[in-house]
Point group: C2
Chain length 197, copies 2
């Protein structure tokens, strides 16, 4: 069996990709962020709900708005990163189903009428899109440093005062300094994580 | 800006990849499933928690155990798929932190002593791994059909009676029949899903 992707591509996306904490001065362009979204958006979501929302903090002013919400250990690396993305979830995603699921107008109403189903759908699928986001960032040549060490309520009050969008996790984006990486953590063996039935 | 991945790779992973409902007779080997996990496992998770678990249903007997839990619209395509994966979450993931986070033995205890943090960490990171799973499956040459239309409690009772592992979503795996695809659903424009600050 030969995978259709080259070894270099598999290394870049998975096998040699690392979470970075130290950033080289090379900037990240808006063009790169748009290229990133133009990949992420194609990832599959339940009934094409596409509930993830992305806020890219590029300026010192935007970073300062985030700073009070960060856990102490995440402040320096986040302030130093060229861009920090807030990966968020729109819990009223169903208001856009007219565009996203045009052949069945009732789909949006089904979610609107079932808050429990809407909530789990939003969180599960917004987080799946978060996974696509990390790999898409690597695919466009960026390094990632994803974090959940922050005060979600503070971020939501500052960036999403409307109440229907909530932060999920953060991801620093840039070009990491490979000389600052520590040894890689072990992973579970196949038989520890998987069953063949 | 030129992405480091080839156009063919970006098409395979994101731009031309589709969710499949009809499967060609070509089988899926255990070797392919192991290659898939050997990519998924490298995706980043919070504190290297790696909470996702994967059960690959390959035999008619295993598929029959799943069948009563499926939504009616998901039965035929799932019974016909070469493999159906249950993407699950181990909510006692912290019991494996001695292996996964060996330099800090207290990390497992931190999660064990904070059930709320453990639960959100498990669901968020297990679902991120679900996103890596879908793209890794494509990277090894498989097509996916992910589904959340099933009775999670029935799946958990049948496959995870211990109680600490719970199903998240299902994903059919195989080689899809491109002639059976319908038109692709629209996606949100950059300005509908993203903000530049």
């Amino acid at each position: 069996m030969k995978p259709p992707l080259s070894d270099d591509a598999l290394d870049l996306l998975f096998r040699k990709a690392r979470t970075h904490h130290t950033w080289l001065p090379q900037p990240v362009s808006d063009e790169e962020l748009r290229a990133l979204y133009d990949l992420v958006k194609w990832g599959p979501t339940s009934a094409n709900t596409c509930p993830a929302r992305f806020v890219f903090l590029r300026t010192p002013e935007a970073k300062q708005r985030l700073k009070p919400a960060l856990s102490p250990g995440n402040v320096d690396k986040t302030m130093a990163a060229p861009v920090t993305a807030i990966i968020a979830t729109d819990f009223k995603f169903y208001e856009k189903m007219g565009k996203l699921f045009p052949h069945n107008a009732a789909m949006g109403e089904r979610f609107a009428g079932n808050p429990q189903m809407a909530e789990i759908t939003a969180f599960r699928n917004g987080t799946l899109e978060g996974g696509y986001f990390i790999l898409a960032a690597r695919a466009v040549g960026l390094d990632c440093g994803a974090m959940s060490g922050f005060d979600n309520a503070k971020v939501d009050a500052e960036f999403f005062p409307g109440g229907s969008i909530k932060s999920n996790f953060l991801c620093n984006l840039g070009h990491g300094d490979p000389s600052k990486l520590m040894e890689r953590h072990p992973r579970l063996d196949f038989d520890e994580a998987c069953q063949l039935l």
